[in-house]
Amino acid sequence: MTARRRLRAALVLGAALSIAGCAARGPLLGPLATGTRAGPVELEATPFFAQERYQCGPAALATALAASGVDTSAEALVPEVYLPGRQGSLQPELVGAVRRHDRLPYILPPTIEAILAALDAGMPVLVLQKLGGGPFPGWHYAVVVGYDVERDWIVLRSGTEQRKVMSASLFFATWDRAGRWAMVVLQPGTLPPDPDFARYMEAAAGLEAVGRHDSATLAYEAAARQWPTEPLPLLALANLAHARGDLVAAERGLRAAVLLDPRDAAARNNRAEVLRQLGCVSLAHREIEVARTLAAGGPLSDTVEATARAIAAQQGEDAAGCPAD
């Protein structure tokens, strides 16, 4: 056997083994089929923007944004997310650009089920894939628009292909190697399917942090409806009310948060501070004393003590119209 023949045999064997490896895994999507997920799903109305060289980031982002009702195009997004020195686009910048267009960037949990659930709910999913290997990593953004359990495939808007069909196992491998990053673009006030409280609140708080207060308000309101026993959305809405100078609304929201969880020292601390700013000194004093007891010895205590000192330094009578309790 010559060296060339041996190499050839090794290559054939390697290829056969890798094919066997794929086949042994069996269908990927089949086990995820449920009663309501029997047939194929394809969001055919999802727009398509073919990419230019290196610019799958703007193209995939345009697809996801346009699907959520934003009037945009791949070319228009190039100055927002393309990084010439890296010949590509970075994930945090895609997330930031979604905020710039007043949409909520929700990062999905890293499971195939989460992607299928989003598609079931009519939401295309922007994903990062790692297609190459070694010195040619081949990072690529695409938008998942459909799946077929029966045929075990995934449908993508990808690069210059409007309808790219990829076997579920190949898609999963490339997505897995890229860290299983997947994002849906939501109109503020709408929720993803099976929403996760921490993920959703982080996305909403991101809108607030970059100054998109109206969108953040809609998102927090949706969270308050979805998780009526959680004080954090109420605290968040109160912070936004405070930021726009509406102390009365802020106080009302914080009172509701305290009612939800009377042992929430943060909500009590914030309420005491807003009451102080409203000139309701005696009630502020009562509130901060409860907060001090709750926070004693904990990581909150320094902040609460600072609030207490500010309240103690406030002189004068209670303002008119202070809440009774």
Partner: protein, 124 residues
């Protein structure tokens, strides 16, 4: 219970962050709460303003138009700025699939030419 934990972590993060939040020390910000609960807490030690400067400089070096730099930086949260400041050169930059397919084709072509494989039946 979960929420209270979140806020406790938030306060810890706030105290570590220092100056940018001191002006609002008595009001706890929402973002710090949720970020602190889902991200590594060592990030809290990094100063957000420095990260912002760093990202600005790297954007400029990587060829972002100066008119766009401010708007792009403004769309990012402190945590994202910290991530970018440290990893902008190494983070995955999604580009396109074509280059990779081209390279695979080239490799196949070379292997074919030297006789290791025989997949292009009409190739001389």
């Amino acid at each position: 219970m979960k929420n209270r934990f979140v806020v406790y972590v938030l306060c810890l993060a706030m105290l570590n962050l220092g100056s940018p939040l001191v002006a609002q020390a008595e009001l706890l910000t929402t973002l710090q709460a949720v970020e602190a609960s889902t991200r590594a807490q060592d990030m809290a030690a990094v100063n957000a303003a420095l990260a912002r400067e760093e990202v600005r400089a790297q954007f400029e070096a990587l060829g972002v138009e100066s008119a766009q730099i401010e708007a792009r930086v403004a769309a990012l949260t402190d945590a994202e700025l910290r991530t970018l400041a440290g990893q902008m050169a190494d983070m995955p930059a999604g580009a396109d699939a074509l280059a990779v397919i081209g390279i695979v084709f080239l490799v196949l072509l070379i292997l074919e030419a030297v006789g290791v494989i025989d997949v292009f039946k009409k190739f001389p």
